[in-house]
Symmetry: C2
Subunit: 210 residues, 2 copies
């Protein structure tokens, strides 16, 4: 099929974060517990990413924020649907109402993070002063893809000793439309994974050689 | 003066977090930079505290969330005032508008965190299931006061080797109406400081012996 023609062409030109809305349909989380846990994880991660995006005027990280925001919208819709379908008694409804209150707050947080990251799109001349205002640490958040040829494929973070070798801490992994938040030593990296890492510029150079 | 009588009595019965609104007048941050940096710090810390409050049904940590929310309200008001008074040209206004957008988002985040923490006040029977839903780590957030008799008074965190001795990480210190976010080894502890620490129950017991 030829790319760039007709409706399909238009779809393919949709920004990546927008495509998530379509592809998302493939994946259904199965329990209210899973969804709420993921919403909590996103709300913690997304703020980190949003500030990092403006501090370093980093379009890539701003894009990750939009991905997560879209995912959060989807999760909030799902959890609301599940709660309504699950509630049979007044007691059920009261418990589920507490869960929806947290879900709503988590989505509000992710939207606010989106507002912060969107400032990047104001253009570098208009936000040039912000890093000076907010920057304190030498640490930065980076994004890196695991190429299919990388020796890191199918190895665990522990095996690779990423943190002790490079000083970079992996704060999240995006795998297609899934995220793994705060991965640990046993987490295995796959080809085409996108790693969100935090650390110094130097360490990132080392990481790229992996 | 006798306590508990007339208007003064009522004021003294005001919840502590409410009093901040009055006492706050004593303290003025001096620059837009200082205020924005503090708003960023609060927005990162307050989410941690809010989830911890509901995970552990912890009224004390929920109270810290309300403190921070009140402080954030105040800071957002201040930064808006300063921005309006500082803008002289269209260029000024554009730069300051970016700052106010971040400030607004930071306040939205803190209000959402407040909504999460408020669920604690629904009563333990109504949120009893939430820890089961969200809990994963063994780490918890604790609050501890430095008594004037403690040997920790006037010693730095580095000197005390808090983290290596107890495994507890100090994530913030409240000193009267000021907060110190993410303190480091050189930060000196003072009597009556309230420490917000993260770690395992065991480590907290060790810390209390300090």
């Amino acid at each position: 099929m030829k790319k760039g023609l007709g409706i399909l062409g238009r779809l393919q030109r949709t920004p990546k974060w927008k495509q998530v809305e379509f592809k998302e349909l493939e994946y259904k989380a199965h329990t209210v517990k899973d969804i709420l846990t993921e919403m909590k994880d996103i709300s913690e991660l997304i703020i980190d990413l949003a500030y990092s995006a403006i501090l370093f005027k980093d379009d890539e990280i701003a894009e990750e924020v939009r991905y997560l925001e879209t995912r959060m919208d989807y999760l909030n819709y799902e959890i609301r649907m599940m709660a309504m379908m699950a509630a049979r008694t007044r007691d059920d409804a009261e418990q589920l109402s507490g869960i929806l209150q947290i879900a709503e707050a988590a989505e509000t947080i992710s939207n606010a993070a989106g507002d912060i990251a969107n400032i990047v799109s104001l253009g570098k001349d208009k936000i040039g002063f912000l890093p000076k205002v907010l920057k304190r640490a030498d640490e930065k958040i980076f994004r890196i893809n695991i190429s299919p040829k990388s020796q890191a494929c199918d190895k665990s973070i522990g095996e690779l000793a990423v943190e002790s070798e490079t000083g970079m801490h992996i704060i999240a992994i995006r795998r297609g439309n899934y995220w793994i938040y705060d991965p640990g030593a046993p987490t295995v990296l796959k080809k085409n994974d996108t790693l969100i890492v935090r650390g110094a510029e130097e360490g990132f150079k080392d990481l790229k050689l992996f």
